[in-house]
């Protein structure tokens, strides 16, 4: 006999797996620290490359000026300014990444709680069925 209660629960679970669960289950295997840390690392790499590309654009845009003033540029001052800007950007992005991914991880966990609850219920129903047989 098909158990109606069980089918209903299983269908709900399958829908979750198909939609929200698709991402959530993949990320829920990480510990919180690992998940947030991993994405902060990616964000750091992203901002570093992005910053380099920005610098390249500025360099091309001011190419003529740079070539004409090659000897007059205060490289120490320029270098320290660029590094300070980079560090500030990096800090800002790391903080943003930390908050964004912490919030996301919390959302995943609450979705997962429902999922596990349903699984437990299905398991219980399955066992009850077996006992009846």
């Amino acid at each position: 006999m098909v158990n109606k209660r069980k089918v209903r629960l299983m269908a709900r679970t399958a829908m979750y797996e198909k939609h929200e669960g698709h991402d959530e289950l993949k990320n829920a295997v990480y510990y919180r620290g690992d998940y947030v840390g991993m994405h902060m690392l990616f964000a750091g790499i992203g901002i570093t490359l992005g910053y380099l590309l920005c610098l390249f654009l500025v360099f091309v845009y001011r190419f003529e000026f740079i070539v004409n003033n090659l000897t007059d540029i205060n490289y120490r001052k320029l270098g320290s300014t660029l590094i300070i800007i980079y560090v500030l950007l990096l800090i800002v992005f790391q903080v943003i990444a930390y908050f964004v991914y912490s919030i996301r991880y919390n959302d995943y966990q609450s979705g997962l709680k429902f999922y596990i609850n349903r699984l437990k219920k299905i398991d219980k129903l399955g066992r009850e069925e077996k006992e009846e047989e």
Partner: protein, 351 residues
């Protein structure tokens, strides 16, 4: 109004039943329109302008996530610009790469905004773009909206660049790049529009998230009007040209677009027919779950979840449900709570 409501109801039912077909067709149409718009504005590369290639690409995009359409659009733009001038494509590529690196790491789901904004520009209703973005993507849409504005101004400058390209010599690599950047990334008009868009998106998003009646409608109207005021102020202050008639029409269009979106898309529960498969020890199940549309029922359910307190648990009397038995003692608090959870909470969870 009643007819509109009936139409909405019909749409909802139609979508619930044929969502598989409708969502793919809509995706195909959106992709094709975007690609044709790109082709119309540029058209310097034979392959990327071939209508059959575009139709084929749209068909592929219809079956893939929305981000792929945005990516395909960007690639098409780059190809077209490459046909015009290598330098042009290089600048666009670097700007897009910067956005990919620093932004899409956070939120790939709002990438559709990137193509939506240029399309609104070409439809001559750019002022509707931030309202729509604020209503749908919210604050996450700010960055792609700014880059979308950039994409539009970049494509817009194409024809002008094509005319003046002849004045550059063979090896004038740097002057060309400087000329392009001056007119795209550092275009005053573009920067002003980006700032106005950002302000409008934030305003619309904030008002929309107020928990009051008609917050969506108020957000749309306020956002559009404030946007118009900002456009006038900024353009007058920086003595840029703008078309007053176009602004008025654009503002009205923005309000209308927001209201239409609200009516047909956001106030409607477009639940879809679900097809899922699973198995247990004895059977394979192929389940097709069709959503029920019953407003009254939904409302009652919402009320129940919010108003349930411990008091209700403690006052629950299993004897009312199962009937009295002779000599039965009054159930204590714990018994009542347990019975409540068994009879009410567990049952609801399943439904």
């Amino acid at each position: 109004m009643t007819e509109l409501l009936i139409l909405k109801d019909k749409l909802q039912n139609l979508y619930a039943r044929y969502d598989m077909i409708i969502s793919h067709v809509l995706k195909f149409a959106a992709a094709l329109v975007s690609f044709l718009v790109i082709r119309g504005m540029t058209g310097y590369n034979a392959t990327a302008s071939n209508i059959f290639v575009l139709i084929l690409l749209s068909a592929v995009c219809a079956f893939l996530p929305g981000g792929v359409t945005a990516l395909a659009g960007c690639v098409l733009i780059l190809l077209q610009l490459y046909g015009l001038a290598v330098e042009y494509a290089a600048v666009a590529f670097i700007v897009l790469a910067i956005m990919l690196l620093v932004y899409f790491i956070f939120s790939p789901k709002t990438s559709y905004v990137l193509l939506l904004v240029p399309i609104f520009f070409i439809m001559r209703i750019p002022y509707a773009a931030p309202v729509v973005v604020g209503l749908t993507a919210g604050l996450l849409g700010i960055v792609p909206a700014v880059f979308g504005t950039y994409l539009y101004y970049m494509m817009n400058f194409c024809s002008e660049f094509a005319l003046s390209a002849g004045s550059f010599g063979e090896g004038d690599f740097i002057p060309k790049l400087t000329f392009i950047m001056d007119n795209t990334i550092l275009n005053k008009e573009m920067l002003v529009m980006s700032i106005v868009f950002v302000a409008t998106i934030i305003l619309v998003y904030v008002i929309k998230s107020f928990s009051m009646d008609y917050s969506w409608v108020i957000a749309t109207v306020t956002g559009s009007v404030v946007e118009a005021i900002l456009v006038v102020m900024s353009h007058v202050m920086l003595s840029l040209d703008f078309n007053m008639g176009g602004l008025l029409i654009g503002t009205v269009a923005a309000i209308l677009t927001g209201l239409v979106l609200y009516f047909f898309f956001f106030s409607v529960d477009y639940s879809r027919t679900e097809r899922v498969q699973f198995e247990d020890d004895d059977y394979y199940y192929y389940v097709k779950a069709v959503p029920k549309f019953n407003m009254a029922k939904t409302e009652v359910k919402v009320k129940k979840i919010n108003s349930r307190t411990d008091d209700e648990k403690e006052q629950y009397d299993p004897r009312d449900v199962y009937g009295h038995e002779e000599g039965e003692v009054e159930p204590d608090e714990l018994d009542r709570q347990r019975a409540y959870e068994r009879d009410v909470v567990d049952l609801e969870d399943e439904e």
